[in-house]
Structures are given as C-alpha cells and as structure tokens.
Symmetry: C2
Subunit: 361 residues, 2 copies
Amino acid sequence: NLAPCTDFDKAYFHSYAHVGIHEEMIKDRVRTDTYRSAILQHQKHIEGKVVMDVGCGTGILAIFCAQAGAKRVYAVDASDIALQANEVVKANNLSDRIIVLHGRVEDVEIDEEVDVIVSEWMGYMLLYESMLGSVITARDRWLKRGGLILPSHATLYMAPITHPDRYTESIDFWRNVYGIDMSAMLPLAKQCAFEEPSVETISGENVLTWPHVVKYVDCYTLQNYELESVTTRFQFKSMMRAPFHGFAFWFDVEFNGPANLNTNAQILLPGSPNPPSLDGAVKKKRTNPNDTLILSTAPEDPPTHWQQTLIYFYEPIEVEQDQVIEGSLVLSQSKENRRFMNIHLEYSSGGRSFVKESVMR
Amino acid sequence: NLAPCTDFDKAYFHSYAHVGIHEEMIKDRVRTDTYRSAILQHQKHIEGKVVMDVGCGTGILAIFCAQAGAKRVYAVDASDIALQANEVVKANNLSDRIIVLHGRVEDVEIDEEVDVIVSEWMGYMLLYESMLGSVITARDRWLKRGGLILPSHATLYMAPITHPDRYTESIDFWRNVYGIDMSAMLPLAKQCAFEEPSVETISGENVLTWPHVVKYVDCYTLQNYELESVTTRFQFKSMMRAPFHGFAFWFDVEFNGPANLNTNAQILLPGSPNPPSLDGAVKKKRTNPNDTLILSTAPEDPPTHWQQTLIYFYEPIEVEQDQVIEGSLVLSQSKENRRFMNIHLEYSSGGRSFVKESVMR
C-alpha cells in the first residue's frame, strides 16, 4: 500500500533535476554545516555501519557519511539529479561504499537493513512537499530496531506577527502613486499579495509573542497517516500594542537518538529531548542540556533558505498589549496533489472572528 | 490579416493580471519618471488631443496624459488588469476623458483617429514579449498623419562581457564543496546556469568594449514583418585582456517626434535624432543636443527592472587586448509562440568559432 508515483510526483522530482536548487541548498551554510556536524557528532553510530540517505540530491550528505566511516551508504533519489550524484561518487572513488539508487524509496529494493537514515526532507513550513512520508517509508522498510534517524525530531511553530513595512510597500503604496489615488487597486492588490502563503525573511522584532507548537514530530514513531492532516488550537497574548498582520510559521529539527539510544551525551535520556508542550506556547529557546544539535529556521536565528512562511490577512487587526488571539489551524495534504498543502486558519481577537483558506502550491 | 489571439497570447495577457508585476514596473522610477517627463515635455502635442495608451496596465500613463490635458485617452489592454484601470479612472473622476478598452488593439474598435500613441511595450532584450507589433498595429489603424508616438525610437545593443564572479559562483563552486570535489557536476551546472538567457544586473566594468547596435527601430516607419527576424553582424575589439564570458544585451528608447515634427526643441530636425550607425560599434553616450529624453537600460546607467540580458558561454574565452571578436546574431520570434524569442549566435575569436542557440521563454 505504498503511494503510487503520480504525474505531480514526477513534476516534483523534475524540479530537483535543476542544479540551481542544489546550489542554493548547499550554500545555505546553516543547513549544510549543521548536517555535517550532526553526522560527525554521531560518528560512532555511523562508523562501519549501513546508512541510507533519503532524497540524496547531489550526494553530499551521503559523502559526509562515507567520510564518517560508513561501511555502505544507499543514496536514494527519484530525481535525475541522482545521475549526477553517481558521477560525483565515482569521481571521488567512493563507488564501493556509496550505492546511488535512482528511484523512489517506495520503489527501490535493497537486500539488507540499515543502521542509520539521514535525510534533508524539510520543506517550507516544515511539511510542504510531503517528503517526510518517504523517510517514514524508508524507516519502516529498512531501519534496524534501535537504528538512528537524522534528524530525529522536528517542531513546527507559529506566532502572530506585525509587519507594517511589508503592508505599506505592497498595499498602502496604491493610495498615492505619483500623486494619483489608485486605491481602487487595493482589493486586488491585497488578494495578489496575500491570498497565498509568502516565503520571506522576518526578524524577531516582527513577532508579537512566544510561538505556539503546531506539530511536534518524532521521526522514530510518526506514522504516515498522521501527516495527512495536522490540527491545532492556539491561544496567544500579544506582548505589545501593534497592528497584527498575520501569522508566521517556522520550524526546527533536532539531531538525536531514539528514546533508548545512548547518544554522545553519554546519559540515558528519559524520553525524547525536551518535547515542547503540545497545547500551548513554549519558550522560544528551549534549554539544551544534552548538546543536541538543532537546525533552527526561527526569525531570531541566522537566516536560512527556508526563511519563514507568512500568512497575511487582507486587513490588519489592531491589538492591545495582552489582547488574546485565539483560534485553530488545520494543515492538510491537498487531495489533488498531496505535495500541495491546504491551510485552514480560523482566528479571533477583540470580539471579531475570521477564516482564511490558502493553498501552498 | 491581424494576428489571431492564441492560447499563448491569453497566457501572456493573464500574466499581467497579477498586481505585483505592475507594482514592480511603477516602482521602477527610471521608467515611470522618464515616461512622465516625456509626456510633460510633449504636452503641447497632447493638450486637447486624442491619445491612445497601448497596453495601459493600471492606467498610469493614460492618467499622466489626461493630467497633461488630453481631450480623450483610449486606454487599451487585453489583460484583466484593464478592469482595475477602469476602476482607477472612475475613482479619479476621469471617466469622461479616459476610455478603458478591455481587449487587444487588433480587436477593439474606436470611431476616430488619434493624435498620439503612448506605450510602454519594451520587454527584456527590447523585443521579448513581441508587444511592439501591437503598437505598430495601433499606429496603422488609428494614428493621424504626423501624429506622435512615445517612445519614438528604440535601440538594442550588444557587447562582449567578462564576469568572473558570476562564473565562480555558479560553476567553479562545484570544484570544492565542503572539501569535496564535485567537478562531475560541471557539465550540468553549466547547462542549467547558462543554457538560457539570464536577466541580471551587471556594471559598466563587466563590458569589454563599446556596444554594437543590433537593431535601431523607428516607431514611425517600422513594419511588423521586420520584427519576425532581426539579423546583424558584429565585430568588436576587446579593450582589455580578460576572460570573455558572453554577451550582454540592453536597450534604450527615445521620446521624440517623427522626422518632420517640431518638438519642444523648437527646431526642425533634419532626421531622426542621432540615428546610430547600423553597421558597427557606436559611442556609448550619444550626444543629445535636442534635449531628447532617453530611457536607458545600459550597464553604466542607473538600474531598471529590465536589468540587462546575458547570454553566457559554457566556457570562457581568454582574450587579449585588441583581440577581435566577430560573428553574427539572429533574433527571431519562435514559430511555436511568437512571444518567445529564438537567439542564434555565432561568434569567433582567436581562431576558434562557436555557435550558441538559446530561447527566451
């Protein structure tokens, strides 16, 4: 009962055949350095072991694993970029240790179990692209009991934001264009600018309060059906008086072992590390006593190619300090194309209620 | 025998229904300021006259013309943005003087001749989008003898360039990726980066010599069939020793009258102003004794949203000072979609000859 390969999947894989997207990802040093550090930090779980890189792209993570001493690395990618990865592997005389498989993890076959799965599967808003499902599929097909998954855990956050500059630039702009009142453009301008989610970089100053955890994912235990739809209720209290322009989404991922895996921290962890509370706002910076590596795409952290994902309202809401903002969010895979994400947002504040539907395509 | 409206045309018009593209164009102050100045400079030809704005977008140029005293302005656009232009016109109480026509100039009907045609029709590399043909069609259908066209003349230039930073960033990058030799990526990296024309901003320092005029267009006399294919032969002498990475293209347009039109300069011009020589390199800065307004997108001038269009080679050619670079160029409308442009480039230098085919889509 593995998902069949649709035309949408083919288009998705094709988009990764272009070199530019890999250049951008590799040049994101926050991303690539953190993965490399995580592989080195877990070297004792990798050395002499069998690894699978799910969605290997140009093969860079597979090569990091080989450099860390992996006995064998299966580097799997359904995009034609796998052909390039194979050339890179050959040119680096790693063909005896890295086996590039050009196909989907749902379709390829290997003859052994793996000790480690490494994958850079995160999309905008964490779940866009729906690649995590392929990691889960690989885990269920091949990962040994007690095996390692890198990253191990992921958290999607949301927070209300204010962004007057952005609103002025795209919307208020039309109120006075070379002295001409073009306010008649406003409804369409709002729709064009804010109908769909917008990927852009904001700063911590845009964020009105602590974030809320939309979804905490344990890659060791997650089941694929859980990804079809994610629902959360949120309640925020604005920490300042400001025009409330929309919600920002970002994520972080942790590189840790499963609950019973002895990591470099050399203590047995009582559970997954610092699981954020699932029903409320969390502190922005979680304490990190176990030296768990975290790749963060938060507004207050160094920017990455994921930036943040913004859902703007057509009209800002003026909120007072301590004013409550509450509502609910449903993220679901589009029925038409499961790589698209439907976003159903209900929110209310100051006695008014709103609904916003959008699709990330 | 007017061109029928194809599905490609519909897609083209649809691309202008999004507000963002109009925001970008209006915010290009070099563009919008120059058009406004040109309309004011020709106010005595506009005041009390009938004007047509071909491809009016949000209607801003039509409103400038109304502000300059036009008796009537026909603002024509086949994109749905025309509905917005109509709202803007109504909100500014200009409905009695600006008539928005939602359709192609090939299809709409008006009951009178016009004194002035204004249009911002220029695409990347001047001719991309093939919108100039619609201006010529409007001219032939409605412009009075001796009427004014703004802009009146356009020139497309090309010049050999060096751009080591760009080459290093996208190509040499793969030679050492986190210490890994990924040179096996180079052929695909070159193809992905340089197969198609690239719109980007370069500076005067990237240009190896004076530009060559690919095409000089007199909007008063141009015939539509001339746009189907443009051919030129070029010869350059590199002014320095450098790696020669490709050719840059840019354009300028002039706002002048026809040969026999008395402009604000209050002298009878002997011919179109400063027609560049058609078979060789020209000086970069033409003298401009008649205060003719020029909108330039040259690398040495302030940047515009058109930037420059670059055609890179897969391999740079090392040229010495005074080394000759020669060849030929054919720009032609794609048979499949006349809004696409086929670029056939032959060039030779230092005894080696090359051919590069690309398509601007």
